[in-house]
């Protein structure tokens, strides 16, 4: 099983690499187009800001490469937001795999701090990504922008309002939370992604 992790100007990529290694798989962290295209699984991770990461992807032609991938792809956090159509963060046009726009959290009460940082539950899960889940499980989030619920939603989370904590369309999967930091639950999600048919 060849797992490629897309290397670009986002933070936190090493955490995903470590998490995949803990599953007993040696991933390659790369921005090499051939290596990404030939991998069995591609993970598009990251923590960062939409405009600067999109600019980097375009400058390295990774934007075209990512949207044309045919194998299972998993976007994580900013990786998920970049797979959407547009982000309110710096008014950025994104990759457009998911036909939905990324919004900024607007707190309604003092307790609703932005970014959302910490553990929250994923509910209404419907995907092989969550195979074996029998109750709403806690996963780890850090984000200030969110994807509204839409046709591609495969998990929802409630923070300020219910929103998409995971998406799926064709060979593209994405999570707003960080499976690589979500303990045993996150490990199961990564295992399920690797095991996709």
């Amino acid at each position: 099983m060849d797992v490629a992790i897309v290397k670009y100007n986002a933070g936190n990529i090493g955490s995903v690499e470590n998490a995949v290694k803990r599953l007993g798989i040696e991933p390659v962290v790369t921005d090499n187009v051939e290596l990404i295209q030939s991998a069995d699984r591609v993970i598009f991770p990251g923590q960062g800001e939409a405009r600067s990461t999109m600019n980097y992807l375009k400058a390295h032609r990774l934007d075209e490469v990512i949207v044309s991938l045919k194998q299972p792809v998993l976007g994580i956090c900013i990786g998920m937001q970049l797979l959407c159509r547009h982000s309110e963060e710096q008014d950025t046009d994104c990759l457009g795999v998911f036909d939905v726009d990324v919004k900024r959290f607007m707190p309604q009460r003092h307790e609703e701090k932005v970014p959302q940082m910490g553990w929250n539950t994923i509910e209404d899960v419907k995907s092989e990504l969550f195979a074996g889940f029998e109750r709403p499980e806690f996963v780890y989030f850090i984000h200030s922008f969110y994807v509204p619920t839409c046709d591609w939603t495969i998990a929802t989370t409630d923070y300020i309002q219910p929103y998409s904590s995971a998406l799926h369309k064709g060979n593209f999967y994405a999570t707003q939370f960080h499976p690589e930091k979500s303990g045993k639950v996150g490990e199961r999600i990564l295992k399920n992604f690797i095991a996709l048919k």
């Binding site: 933070g11 936190n12 090493g14 701090k113 940082m117 929250n120 979500s182």
Partner: protein, 263 residues
């Protein structure tokens, strides 16, 4: 709903976990990575690794240990101690830390907070504040001293500054910190509960999460800081290191008390 977080703190000296009472009398309490894994399996929500001697000895933090922690631990962790400049932050984040905690360096040069937020994002920047209430009227029980002057200290609680807790916390928030980790030096090591009145004032005022630290001695203290202090997270060391409060038992208790925790 976002869960309240339980955070074991591992104070590190010479690669080992230690915990003192009021910052002195260090005792050995185990291997940092083994202990971290154990806590993670027991349901700790995050870990904090603090190089407690780094600040006053001018030592740089322990990048190699951080790399190993990042390889082994599958929950978020923060590192602190001896972080003086942006290059220290860069090195520790590259080694795999999720967040860095700065303390003395921020009080000496507050612009460091802005720089970290701008270069790496607010979410990685935890500002730790050690403060002591100079009011001698510390009560036997209940919640002491909110009205007295809380003075911020640097160098592991050794040197007082001119900064006052609530002013400094507000400035830290405005400069772009992602979280405040407030340790009451009056409460630390005494095991009579967290400084909940002061914490309440912080959580009512700030727009970022506040981690309560100093004073955990019983399960009720965690309940109280979450409910009365409205703390977003609670940090403790010795009650976990010496098995006085097992984390699974603590979380079940908190859930039974109506506190939203991850189980």
């Amino acid at each position: 709903m976002l869960a309240k977080r339980i955070i074991p703190c591992l104070d590190i000296k010479d690669g080992q976990t230690v915990k003192g009472t009021n910052f002195v009398n260090l005792r050995q309490a185990g291997d940092p990575i083994e202990l971290g894994k154990l806590y993670s399996e027991q349901g700790a929500d995050e870990l904090v690794y603090l190089d407690i001697t780094a600040s006053h000895e001018g030592r740089k933090t322990f990048t190699e240990l951080v790399k190993r922690i990042a390889q082994e631990i599958n929950i978020p962790f923060t590192v602190g101690g001896g972080i003086n400049e942006l290059s220290d932050v860069d090195r520790l984040l590259n080694a795999g830390a999720d967040k860095v905690s700065i303390n003395s360096a921020a009080l000496r040069r507050p612009e460091l907070i802005d720089e970290i937020a701008k270069n790496f994002g607010s979410q990685v920047c935890v500002v730790a504040i050690d403060a002591k209430c100079e009011d001698d009227m510390v009560h036997e029980n209940g919640d002491p001293q909110i009205d007295g002057d809380w003075v911020c200290y640097v160098n592991g609680g050794r040197v007082p500054t001119q900064y006052k807790l609530f002013d400094w916390a507000k400035e830290v928030n405005e400069r772009g910190a992602g979280e405040v980790l407030f340790t009451s030096m009056n409460h630390d090591g005494v095991k009579r509960g967290f400084a909940d009145a002061a914490l309440r004032k912080l959580t009512d005022t700030l727009t970022i999460p506040v981690i309560a630290s100093g004073g955990a001695g019983a399960k009720e203290h965690f309940r109280n800081t979450f409910i009365n202090g409205n703390s977003d997270a609670a940090l403790a060391a010795s009650v976990f290191h010496f098995g006085e409060i097992p984390i699974p038992e603590l979380k079940q208790y908190l859930r039974d008390e109506g506190v939203n925790v991850r189980i």
